[in-house]
Symmetry: C2
């Protein structure tokens, strides 16, 4: 039971970056105390703690891993860059398998330094996926292509819409490659409802994440995500659209916010669950 006396809603999952001030044991204890059933993990803190140790810790607490962030960064134009991305992604697949993660989230990567060829970079992603997807399939891991907001197109992710992510994913079997729908990245897109429908119909919607859109954006724009309910996104409609697309998995709260990171983790989790009930569930 959480401090307010109620367990977290059944489909609620906490992405660990939302409360990055917590160590892995603190995350597990905090989630158990609040009856949170699943967490989204990031590779760096998991590797620091140990992949096997993390898997044991979670299993002992009965926590599922709704996603592992992240593989990807496939857009290198040179042979070495491509090979090194593929190596790193094979390791990410192995880590996801060991953690029993439901999906390995892929962020495609941006334009290489000095490169202005967006269609070219997008083409290279399909090429690397051609090698990675069967590898993931053999390890029982599902890849989830995550479109990021177009404001990240040059430096982080040349896949900017759910439609583009689906164009890529549909080149592979659905048990190998799906798509990730994050409200923060997709809320502005008037094709969202039809693209979610397309994703659901093809069995491609493998992860749903939520954060709110608040302005003004901070410098660098990465850490501007808002607490649920603080911004402009109709989060309930977003979740309902994913429901209508047939999605029945975890809804993961992933907020990068220095304001939340500066606070007591348990207090943040209580607030996040409360906001989730008010604005998402």
């Amino acid at each position: 039971m959480s401090a307010d006396g109620a367990a977290a809603p059944a489909r609620f999952s906490l992405n660990q970056e939302t409360i990055r001030q917590w160590s892995l044991p603190e995350l597990v204890d905090g989630c158990v105390a609040a009856h949170v059933g699943a967490v989204g993990l990031w590779r760096e803190p998991v590797r620091r703690f140990g992949v096997r140790e993390t898997a044991k810790l979670l299993a002992g607490a009965g926590l599922r891993v709704s996603s592992l962030c992240r593989g990807g960064f496939f857009t290198a134009a040179d042979r070495d860059g491509r090979a090194s991305a593929l190596d790193d992604n094979r390791r990410a697949v192995a880590e996801a398998a060991e953690l029993g993660a439901e999906v390995l989230v892929l962020v495609s990567g941006g334009l290489p330094e000095g490169d202005r060829d967006l269609p070219g970079a997008r083409g290279r992603i399909a090429d690397v996926l051609g090698e990675l997807a069967p590898w993931a399939g053999a390890h029982g891991v599902r890849l989830g292509i995550e479109p990021l907001h177009p404001m990240f197109a040059s430096d982080r992710c040349v896949v900017s819409t759910l439609g583009q992510a689906l164009d890529l994913a549909e080149g592979f079997p659905p048990e190998q490659v799906g798509v990730v729908a994050d409200s923060y990245h997709l809320w502005w897109d008037d094709r969202l409802a039809s693209d979610l429908h397309r994703a659901g119909r093809g069995g491609r919607l493998v992860s749903v994440q939520v954060a709110d859109w608040v302005t003004p954006l901070p410098a660098g724009v990465l850490l501007g995500r808002g607490q649920l309910g603080d911004g402009s996104i109709d989060l309930r409609r977003f979740r309902e659209l994913t429901d209508a697309a047939g999605y029945r998995g975890s809804v993961e709260v992933e907020i990068f916010s220095p304001t939340l990171w500066a606070r007591d983790g348990s207090e943040v989790l209580r607030e996040v669950i409360d906001r989730y009930r008010q604005h998402v569930d």
Copy 2:
């Protein structure tokens, strides 16, 4: 002749915000000296100088007005907000007519405070246009709906793609309502080529603007536009796509950059023309 001895390219137009440190007379003198044939103007400095006085100054110098920025901000949900937007836009149409501007640029407006209904806000734009478009037609002024980058969807412009702008424009005669294509806002969109083609086919492409995309974005993201060639956009391909869509009008350089504003205006204009030749023309 500009200081490097060559006239500005024939289709080059200078948006006055690019060198906002210049007064209107300085802008006119600077453009005449560099053989620039057209300028994009903003309502605020024009009204401070006087609309009629500006029109006379430009006519005396033989300068065309490729666009007037801007009308719009149509998304108010209340009756008074709607009426006041319509009044202001009627004045903007009259100003555009007096200046002989080839197009009045419309930025739709964002979500009203506390409102999360994006489809609702988009619907209200069509409603206001229903009154404004015939008014503009009667004054011989063409309206240009400008989609802004999705990072402005909540606070400035709920029209985020050229496709959305066309959906709106096509409800009206093409001599009344067209669309504006700005590289900065649209470069990331994989539907850009087909949407430009659609715009050209329907006679809807009424203004083309260019600025480059540079990161990291500054806080608030409004003033992060890059000098041509400094960023990630394949500007020549962008201009060629507009050519292929049948566009033969001005290509307006519109860069909001405190770095450029801090420099000598004539030096900035020389650099802008030079970069335009290297990266756009």
